[in-house]
Symmetry: C2
């Protein structure tokens, strides 16, 4: 008889019932060819004795395996490994490693990526300068949870918990019509709205709907790295157009349009990522004329529109006459905090319908509960109040940081005060190595990037985005204090 005592491993600390542990072990032994088809297993009394278990436990395991067709009960002879199972030559007596332990046995694509730390190291770095994230301490998360509760408790929302739609929650799409009309002068209906998983999904979807392999598309230089990576992944050929103080170079765009078929233009009209510049009024007008002349499809990524300090934000291209060419993208992630990822895409209704079919293949649809909660917060004015409050706070933080950078770091850095958004584009003197600065900062309890990701596909400007929104006044002063020591 086989050494079942050794072959069958029982761990009574596991939640899995012992009879199922026995059954699983026996299946493993059958699959590895150690227990061959037609083999009779020891009687339940004998096996129970060997394993020091109650006989009923072994019987339960055998019954389980009989019902799953691994074993067959033969009258008056006992329990046999099913004869119809394929014969396997045993390869090792008892493998202890998991099939997942090595590398994948098959080949797969390499995905374009940038070197940003996968996860921040918090243990040693209480202070974090991020890319321009909102302050979760200000986000109306309490109100959001309250709305989630009201959704699950109210019978009128019950159906929401059952079904979702790839275009997103209906109530939220209707609220978007009012919200975008009031804040951005956009004239749309719910049919022009798709609710997405943050702005990033909207970028991916819109681009995937338009780009074919080897298509030419225009992006800024520099550009939001996750947009560039996304377009490269979709097989596009990227034409980089300079971004200066007035935003993307519109004349260069026109020259490219005149010389080749351009399938897409991606641009960030407010607080361009990474440089934070805003596209000037004159360039907007020129660009609208180009868009109409060439029927140029545009992704207008306006992720930062709601945060503006020096004056009201400039209306997006989407609210002017673009001849049905602009796909407008934005996000609530900046107002609700990063953990709640709700963004949107505005486009002609037939494009939204097509994109919905693609989105369904990617994740079926959004999270109806969260989306309804957001719709309620838009309807009752919570989001508007929060935006007012946080704009005020971020405005102060921007001004404090700019003051401190100027007075404490002097000519080690250069920057233009951004009109809005959550970050400053901080250019360091060429004498300073950002890589070394970043390493030394970490030792002093400050996590700050070396900025490589911002220069993806372009020449380094020795600059980083310095997110000020998530740091309070005390934290801003501490961070600048550390930098001051490091740049001297």
């Amino acid at each position: 008889m086989l050494p079942f005592k050794t072959l069958i491993k029982i761990d009574k600390s596991l939640k899995l019932p012992v009879y199922q542990q026995i059954a699983n072990c026996l299946i493993g032994l059958i699959q590895e060819g150690i227990l061959k088809p037609g083999l009779f297993l020891p009687g339940s009394r004998l096996l129970a004795l060997q394993l020091e278990l109650h006989r009923k436990t072994v019987i339960a395991a055998y019954e389980e395996l009989i019902s799953q067709d691994w074993l067959v009960a033969v009258p008056r002879k006992g329990v046999m490994v099913a004869a119809n199972l394929p014969v396997i030559r045993p390869r090792s007596f008892r493998k202890t490693v998991s099939a997942y332990d090595g590398e994948a046995a098959f080949s797969f694509h390499t995905i374009p990526t940038v070197a940003i730390p996968a996860k921040p190291v918090f243990t040693h770095t209480p202070l974090v300068v991020n890319d321009g994230f909102p302050d979760a301490r200000l986000a109306p998360l309490g109100a959001w949870v309250r709305e989630c509760r009201s959704v699950i408790e109210s019978p009128r929302y019950f159906k929401l918990l059952m079904y979702g739609s790839p275009t997103g929650n209906e109530a939220l799409r209707r609220e978007m019509q009012t919200y975008l009309g009031n804040t951005r002068g956009l004239s749309i209906t719910a049919d022009h709205v798709m609710i997405t998983r943050g702005a990033q999904m909207a970028i991916y979807l819109a681009a995937a709907m338009i780009i074919k392999k080897d298509d030419y598309i225009i992006v800024g230089s520099p550009n939001y790295f996750f947009a560039d990576l996304c377009f490269e992944q979709l097989g596009a050929r990227l034409l980089h157009v300079p971004v200066d103080e007035e935003g993307i170079d519109v004349d260069a765009i026109e020259q490219l349009c005149a010389s080749k078929k351009i399938k897409l233009l991606y641009l960030i009209t407010h607080h361009h990522h990474p440089t934070t510049v805003t596209l000037s009024a004159a360039r907007r007008m020129k660009l609208l004329a180009i868009i109409r002349k060439y029927n140029l499809p545009v992704i207008e990524d306006d992720y930062d529109y709601d945060f503006h300090y020096s004056s009201a934000p400039i209306l997006p291209l989407a609210s002017a006459d673009h001849g049905g060419n602009v796909i407008y993208i934005g996000s609530f992630t900046k107002s609700l905090g990063l953990s709640i990822r709700i963004g949107f895409m505005i486009a002609p209704a037939n494009f939204i319908a097509g994109a919905a079919s693609l989105r369904r293949l990617m994740d079926l649809g959004g999270d109806n509960l969260s989306e309804q909660a957001l719709a309620n917060l838009l309807a009752d004015g919570t989001i508007e109040r929060h935006l007012k409050k946080s704009n005020k706070v971020y405005h102060e933080r921007r001004d404090l940081l700019c003051d401190l950078l100027q007075s404490r770091l002097g000519d080690a850095v250069q920057f233009t005060v951004p009109t809005g958004g959550m970050a400053i584009w901080l250019r360091f003197s060429r004498k300073i190595s950002l890589k070394k600065l970043s390493e030394k900062a970490r030792a002093m309890g400050l996590q700050i990037t070396s900025g490589e990701q911002y220069h993806y596909g372009t020449t380094s400007q020795n600059a980083i985005r310095f997110g000020f929104a998530s740091l309070n006044n005390k934290e801003i002063a501490e961070v600048v204090g550390i930098l001051e020591k490091l740049v001297r």
Copy 2:
């Protein structure tokens, strides 16, 4: 002077401040070429008179536009449209339609789709037979909201609200190790886990990582339609292999592997969609040998594993020795309710890392707050208790439905009692038109599909999936009552 009274439309019922409404209108007029570069606008006093507004409001609008560079203040002469703006030939005096009103001006891809109703019509149909959805009335949503609150209120979770990772919440990935070990005998670590937006995102990601255009892949016939559509969208050539009472035909798979390079096999081992059959023990063993022999990459979609009534579920292929070839996919959507979309993918660590880079381009990452809440519910046993309870309830509902179908519909229908899951594969007599049945049912307050989507890419069997889990005993009886009237 231009008729500003007509050109500038003020709506005092809007939340947008009046001065911004004026500013927006003026921008529109400039962009349309009605107000030309170099044109002087009326003085603020005069315009205020015309518009019947306070002069301060007009001044505020002018100041806003000066700060945005649309207007220029010329000392002693007044306010002028900026001379550096491009000259536009006006095309219409005042367009009233939105640029989004027509169709998209550019072309875009056609996405493969199936004819399932985009959104169920609830108003007239109180009863809905769905595809096999859980009952949101049973889902532990109260506990879930409670955990969300504890996450936002606890300082130790604060960082979660700031950062996410494309592989998902760390605590949840660690909980998955225990959960999948206990329930499925899977031997993995957190590095083998990616948390996704439901199982669908895991299918899309895994397939997109492997498939190149025109690759051959094997799927069941019939197959889960959203998987087929996803593979087609990614450019694969689908080879359909029959699914019978024992699951997918493994000999046919081997023949295909021997004759051409197969890049992927997609299969549903438990409660196959749509037919609900479970892959037999003998075929599993044969299949594992084929997988190892041909190094055949496999997506094992085990979306329904947690729901099993007749015996314990069969261990997945993923927990046997597959030589690092099986990508294992599952979901919590069936336990938490459809509105909370959390799924997972298990694969070798290098594949997970690659897939994370792709996922980051699609939506940056998951919802850290929801995922932490789920991790807490797994850790405190809530999910386990809920699964026990709902398995009991669904077991009863399955039995009740099967009894009623047999006794009331007789030979109008045929079905095999499924060992688990949330649906019955109900084959109707060829004499019954499901299209007509579906239409007539709706008039009687019952929404039931005509089933076209289940026969995508294969021959119709005149069958539908009858989801029983979301209907209570009373509702099941009502539905069968309506069907009884209709099939007679």
